[in-house]
C-alpha cells in the first residue's frame, strides 16, 4: 500500500479538525445562568412530596453496604441497553453528593441535563420529563435533599463504551431532544385532573418506561403511555391507556387503592419490572395526589 501523499494527509487532517471543532461546538453545554433563578422561599415538605412523586429513591437508592440504606446515596447499578450507570449521590455530602451545588446547578441538572462542571448527563437520568417541573418545585426538592444527612459515597464510573466521547455526544442528542416542547400544563379539566397530568408527566416521568422510544431514543408520542419493550431489556411494560375499557381497574377509587397498597392488597400488576419501588413511593403521597394520578391515567383512552 502506498502512503498517502503529503497533500492528501493534510486534507484528511483538515477535514478531521473541522469535524472535531464542529462536534465540539455543537455539543457545548448551554446552562441557565444563576441570575435566571427566581428568589424563592423553599418548602421542604413540598420537596419531600416531589421526591416521592419522582420516585428518586428508586434509582438513587443506596448501594449495598451503604451506612444508611434509606438515604439516596446512589451507586446501585442501573442497567440500560447502552451500559450500566451508577446513579449520583443525592445527599448533601460536599465531596460526593450535592453539598456544593448551587440552586442554579440543581436546576441545570434537572432541566438541561447538565452537571455543575458542564458535562452532559445521559438521558438515563430523566431530565426530558423533569424539565417540565415548575422552578419553585425544583427548588423545594433541592431544599429537601439538602436537609438529608450527608453520606460520603464514591461510585464506579459508568460502564458505557467510549464513556468520554459518548458523554460529549449526548450534546448532539440534546440538540434534537430538548428542541421538543416539554409537557405543558393543561389549561382545561378539573384541578385534580390537571394535578394528575403534572405529576405523571413532569416529576413522575411515567413515560420514561411506559411510552416506547423511537430510533432516536426519544419518546414515540404517537404511542404515549401505550407500553412497549422494557428498557431493562427483558419483558414488556404495560400500557396505561384504556385501563377502564380493558377492565384493569373499576374506577378512580379502585386505582387509587391499588397505587396506595400495591400487591400487599393483591393488586398484582404493580410489583414486576421495577414497579414495586415506584408504587412504594407513590403510596407515600397525600391521598389527594394519588387520586389525581388515578383520575388522569383513567382518562387516557
Amino acid at each position: 500500500m502506498r502512503l498517502p501523499s503529503r497533500r492528501t494527509a493534510a486534507a484528511i487532517a483538515f477535514v478531521l479538525a473541522v469535524a472535531a471543532v464542529g462536534f465540539g461546538w455543537l455539543t457545548q453545554p448551554d446552562p441557565l445562568p444563576a441570575s435566571a433563578i427566581p428568589a424563592h422561599t423553599a418548602e421542604r415538605t413540598n420537596g419531600e412530596l416531589l421526591y416521592r412523586a419522582g420516585s428518586c429513591f428508586a434509582c438513587h437508592k443506596a448501594a449495598q453496604g451503604a451506612p444508611d440504606p434509606a438515604l439516596p446515596s446512589g451507586g446501585t447499578p442501573f442497567k440500560t441497553p447502552i451500559g450500566v450507570f451508577y446513579p449520583q449521590n443525592l445527599t448533601p455530602d460536599p465531596e460526593t453528593g450535592l453539598g456544593r451545588w448551587s440552586e442554579a446547578d440543581f436546576v441545570n441538572a434537572m432541566t438541561r441535563g447538565l452537571a455543575p462542571d458542564g458535562r452532559h448527563y445521559f438521558p438515563a437520568f430523566p431530565y426530558m420529563a423533569y424539565r417540565a417541573m415548575r422552578v419553585a418545585d425544583l427548588l423545594d426538592l433541592r431544599a429537601y435533599l439538602m436537609s438529608l444527612p450527608p453520606v460520603k459515597a464514591v461510585h464506579p464510573s459508568h460502564s458505557v463504551p467510549q464513556l468520554g466521547l459518548a458523554r460529549r455526544g449526548v450534546g448532539l442528542w440534546k440538540r434534537i431532544a430538548l428542541a421538543r416542547p416539554p409537557f405543558a400544563p393543561a389549561t382545561e379539566g378539573s384541578d385534580s385532573w390537571k394535578r394528575g397530568a403534572y405529576l405523571v408527566n413532569a416529576p413522575g416521568h411515567c413515560g420514561e418506561c411506559h411510552t416506547p422510544k423511537n430510533w432516536l431514543m426519544l419518546e414515540d408520542l404517537g404511542r404515549y403511555l401505550a407500553g412497549g419493550p422494557h428498557p431493562g431489556g427483558e419483558g414488556k411494560v404495560p400500557s396505561l391507556r384504556g385501563l377502564l375499557a380493558r377492565e384493569k381497574y373499576e374506577d378512580a377509587s379502585n386505582l387509587t387503592l391499588a397505587l396506595q397498597n400495591g400487591e400487599e392488597l393483591g393488586y398484582e400488576d404493580l410489583s414486576s419490572g421495577g414497579m414495586a419501588a415506584i408504587q412504594e413511593n407513590l403510596a407515600k403521597l397525600p391521598a389527594s395526589d394519588v387520586r389525581a394520578i388515578a383520575e388522569y391515567l383513567l382518562s387516557l383512552k
Binding site: 407500553g227 411494560v237 400487599e264 393483591g266 410489583s271 414497579m275 419501588a277
Partner: protein, 149 residues
C-alpha cells in the same frame, strides 16, 4: 366397510389421538400448570381484599377458606418450576434458576404468610396478616417475575 370409509375412520381416529396428546402435553406443561395455580391464588385474594378495604365485613370462615386455598396452590406452584421451564409466554425470570435458593426462600415466605393468615380469627390481626402475605407475593414478583410477555 369400503376402503375409503376405513381410511376415513383411520384418519379420524388418528386426529383424535393427536389432539388428545397435544392437550395432555399442554396440561402437563409446568408453565401452564403453575399459571393455573397462581390464577386460583389471585381469585382467592379477591374476597380477602374486599375485607381489607372494608367492602365486606370480616368473616373468619371466609379468611380461613381462602387462605387455605392460597397455601395449597402456592405449594403446588412451587413444585412446578423445573429447570428450563422459563421462556416463551412464561413470565418467569431466569433468576429463578440462577438464584434458586433466593426463589425458594421467597416462595416459603409466602407459604408461611398464608399459613399465618389461615389462623387469623381476630379482626385487628387481619390487615397486618394480609399485608405480610401480599408483601411476600410482591417481594417474589419484584425479583422473579417479568412485567409482561
Amino acid at each position: 366397510m369400503s376402503l375409503t370409509k376405513r381410511r376415513l375412520a383411520f384418519f379420524a381416529g388418528l386426529s383424535i389421538v393427536m389432539v388428545g396428546a397435544w392437550g395432555a402435553a399442554f396440561a402437563s406443561d409446568p408453565a401452564h400448570q403453575r399459571h393455573e395455580a397462581m390464577e386460583t391464588v389471585q381469585e382467592s385474594f379477591k374476597p380477602l381484599r374486599a375485607i381489607a378495604v372494608k367492602e365486606t365485613p370480616f368473616d373468619a370462615a371466609v379468611v380461613k377458606k381462602n387462605a387455605t386455598t392460597i397455601l395449597e396452590k402456592l405449594k403446588e406452584a412451587h413444585g412446578l418450576f423445573p429447570e428450563g421451564s422459563g421462556g416463551g409466554d412464561s413470565r418467569a425470570k431466569a433468576e429463578i434458576w440462577s438464584d434458586r435458593a433466593g426463589f425458594d426462600t421467597a416462595m416459603k415466605n409466602a407459604q408461611a404468610a398464608a399459613t399465618a393468615m389461615a389462623a387469623v380469627t381476630d379482626e385487628t390481626a387481619y390487615v397486618p396478616a394480609m399485608k405480610t402475605l401480599g408483601g411476600a407475593c410482591k417481594a417474589c414478583h419484584d425479583k422473579y417475575r417479568l412485567p409482561q410477555q
